[in-house]
Subunit: 213 residues, 2 copies
């Protein structure tokens, strides 16, 4: 994403730019983030900036890479240590997300972006990059023995829906941080919908009828 020229830069300078960018993205909605202010904070010239990044969007995705990696590692290590417990992982993700959001600037950035409705599907699973990550990294580690279907494709579907639930729960949390317990409770219900369905199955109905008789 970032140009090779940027990647060759001394880490100190990279950090300065990264920090300036984060600082802007935290406090300003995406539309209004000004490259002018970023280069001023970072102490580089306009010309230099444009040899590092093509535009604002590329800068943003560079800044986000970090957050993505952190999530990915979180999932990977959870699956490893738990022997592939998918639903356990999903539960832990919400906790981690909420905790993160209390302490971490990066997550205030995330929040800003979501609240201002600027970033969008970027972090959402319809992005094929994420889907590919799911398939290649997570799928081999997840225990799917109870799943209706064991295919990669099916796994990605379930994960997409589950990710949507995590992120939207976190958004709710941002909007109203007082209701932490309620959020968790609702999230549990959402996971149960994905896991066991919103409806009683035919089989269950039949069983209930049999019992009733």
């Amino acid at each position: 994403m970032a140009s090779e020229r940027f990647l060759r830069l001394p880490p100190k300078k990279q950090k300065a730019i990264y920090d300036a960018a984060i600082g802007e993205f935290i406090n300003t909605p995406y539309e209004k983030v000004s490259i002018n202010k970023i280069i001023q904070k970072a102490g580089i010239s306009r010309g230099s900036f444009y040899t590092y990044f093509e535009d604002k969007r590329e800068l943003l995705s560079f800044v986000f890479e970090d957050t993505k990696d952190q999530w990915q590692n979180f999932c990977l290590s959870f699956l490893k240590k738990s022997g592939g417990d998918f639903w356990g992982m999903m539960e832990a993700m919400l906790d981690a997300g909420m905790e993160f959001c209390k302490n971490n600037d990066l997550f205030r950035l995330h929040r800003n972006l979501m609240m201002y409705q600027e970033v969008t599907l970027m972090e959402m699973p319809s992005k094929s990059e994420t889907a590919r990550m799911l398939e290649k990294e997570l799928y081999p580690l997840a225990d799917l023995s109870t799943f209706q279907e064991k295919s990669k494709e099916y796994f990605v579907m379930v994960m997409e829906q589950a990710l949507f639930a995590v992120f939207s729960s976190i958004v709710y949390y941002y909007e109203n941080p007082k209701t932490e317990e309620k959020i968790k409770e609702d999230y549990q219900k959402k996971m149960n919908i994905l896991r066991y369905g919103a409806c009683k199955t035919l089989k269950e109905n039949q069983m209930e009828e049999q019992k009733a008789q």
Copy 2:
């Protein structure tokens, strides 16, 4: 949203502005949509524009109101004529969405917005306005007899997840319009996940074991 002054305008003039806005939003990513061009097309002055709308975002949400209403009416009328068939409605939504997207400029707009990752959660269910609509309009009409829980809240949860699936399927469709059948098939699977769960239930497992014995 739009100012009273705008709403008092003769419909012909309103239409001209609406059309000009749509025309721009169809062909240009949100960031780069220029109010300059819109007022030029609509034949109004800069000053007038700013007495009608506060800014670009307000204009956009005005333009979207229409699309929202169309969806809402679609859902309502389906539920009425089918006697509350929720899953039937969800199936029909995908079909309608895909059909719409073939023929209708408004949907090209939708597509543009999604593809360019500009509009975001705007149409997504975390918006409380949508949630309120679901509770007040749709909930009373839906047949929830097979649902695990019958509360408004539970209904909104299920619907949110389902809406996510519709919209993301439509996005997939935009990205690759050739795979219409595949999209529908996957969508069916997603609906089945929501309906019956991604996992076999304990009961089902027990039943299978019993059969096996």
